[in-house]
Amino acid sequence: MPPAAAHDSHNAFIETWPEAEQSAATGPLAGWRVAVKDNICTRRGRTTCGSRMLENYRSPYDAHVVERLAAAGAVIAGKTNLDEFGMGSTSENSAFGPTRNPWDTQRVAGGSSGGSAAAVAARLVRAALGSDTGGSVRFPAAMCGVTGLKPTYGRVSRYGLVAYGSSFDCIGVLATSAADAAEMLYAIAGHDPRDATCVDQPVPDYMAMLHKRPGRLRIGVPREYFAAGLDADVKIAVEAALEVFRAAGANVVEIAMPLTDASVAAYYLIVAAEASSNLARFDGVHFGHRTASPRDYMDVYSASRSEGLGEEVKLRILLGTFALSSGYYDAWYRKAQQVRTLIRRDYLRAFEQCDVLAGPTAPFAAPLLGNLRADPLAMYLGDVYTVGANLAGIPAISIPCGFTAGGLPIGLQLQGPHFAEAQLLCAAHAYQQATDWHQRCP
């Protein structure tokens, strides 16, 4: 496998680390070169979150998942590019330049974990960590033709993940196969007392469970996922994937998820509100960028934030601040939280009849650089299939299932009940035994 730096023509990495410091590796991930999204704290190098605000920030501690990777014998090749603080679907909102899609360098890699997805797609690393708040592992996985897993909320410790939307954020895995994703998840999952939202539940042996034949898989396909905005090539590829599952004995049924469209609005209002609170810590006082010549105490905050934070980040902070502000809180933030309850109920109801839900990961394949970023609302609507899993806290996986006529990867998304990662990985693995989309390289 080539050294990362020499071959990173897609700007997948913000920082690559020379191999010299790695000790003789033993453990389940011995020999694995992996990458870590740059919103995950590492004592080595910098943790920039793709932002001018943290351009020179050096974390005094390692994230829990970084400790776990090291303990498992993996070698971290470097920190990958992202949309600033996780806010974006294209990895263009980075202070360090966009990440280009290895399948077509005029196109985006998806986001916000675009660097991790591109690094895996280009085979610069075997696997990578990303974070998924509204789809930021799954969406770039689909755009780049790799496997991307978002675990159940609380399955993996967030200690050391720079917070964006604390009730949504999940550290996830990008890899070239469900089998590799299973190995990575097993290494990083589990209880950590340093994250109060991390659950204390045993971690199943995902690898052993990959090969289980669970009997007739009941797959629910929400009819709302096939509405007008879906790209024709994506629809064809997803329908073909469902045929593969049917041929293997699955029972595929149409179901209703009537709040699918509303999920984008509910998600963005709540996550922006949470972000406005989480990003209040970036104030130029204790760390990060401080404006050079503050006029007064207040200016330290305002000028530092204005200079250090990018446009999309500022927009979301303003949206969130608005939603939480006096006079608007009930109609916007509280309303969105009530809709979140209804969406969660819809998922629980769906899982009474189905083992997994299936559909496209994204309504389209990778757009050209510059297109999606120009229209924030259009960008938000691209998350229509992914935000539901974050609202409900459930696990979901995106796996390659074909290509557009223009040769761009298409992702199939499977969603499962809380803590059903084993079931998702098993279904994904079975699909990858019957097809070879995931083995294609740019």
Partner: protein, 101 residues
Amino acid sequence: MPPRIDNATVRHIANLARISLTDEQAARCGEQLSRILDAFNQLSQIDTSGVEPTAHPLDAHSVLREDVPVSPPGAEAILANAPRAEAGCFALPKVLEQGAA
């Protein structure tokens, strides 16, 4: 009913968020926020009577641990990232005026 995101509203929110905007940025943000809130106003059509808001995706409860000290990173490690540090403290411009905001 989606609110008018006029310049005064943008200025008010930006002040709450401690972000300073140029006139051009404020105008652009106002437009974008208006479009976004117009679209998101669809939520008002959904019947949520009697529905509890979800604050947390799991059944949240207070997590306790043993009252035993743990070692945090030392002051030196923390101050290493300070924009300006003096005498083991974070240095800042003085608050110039006390009194009504």
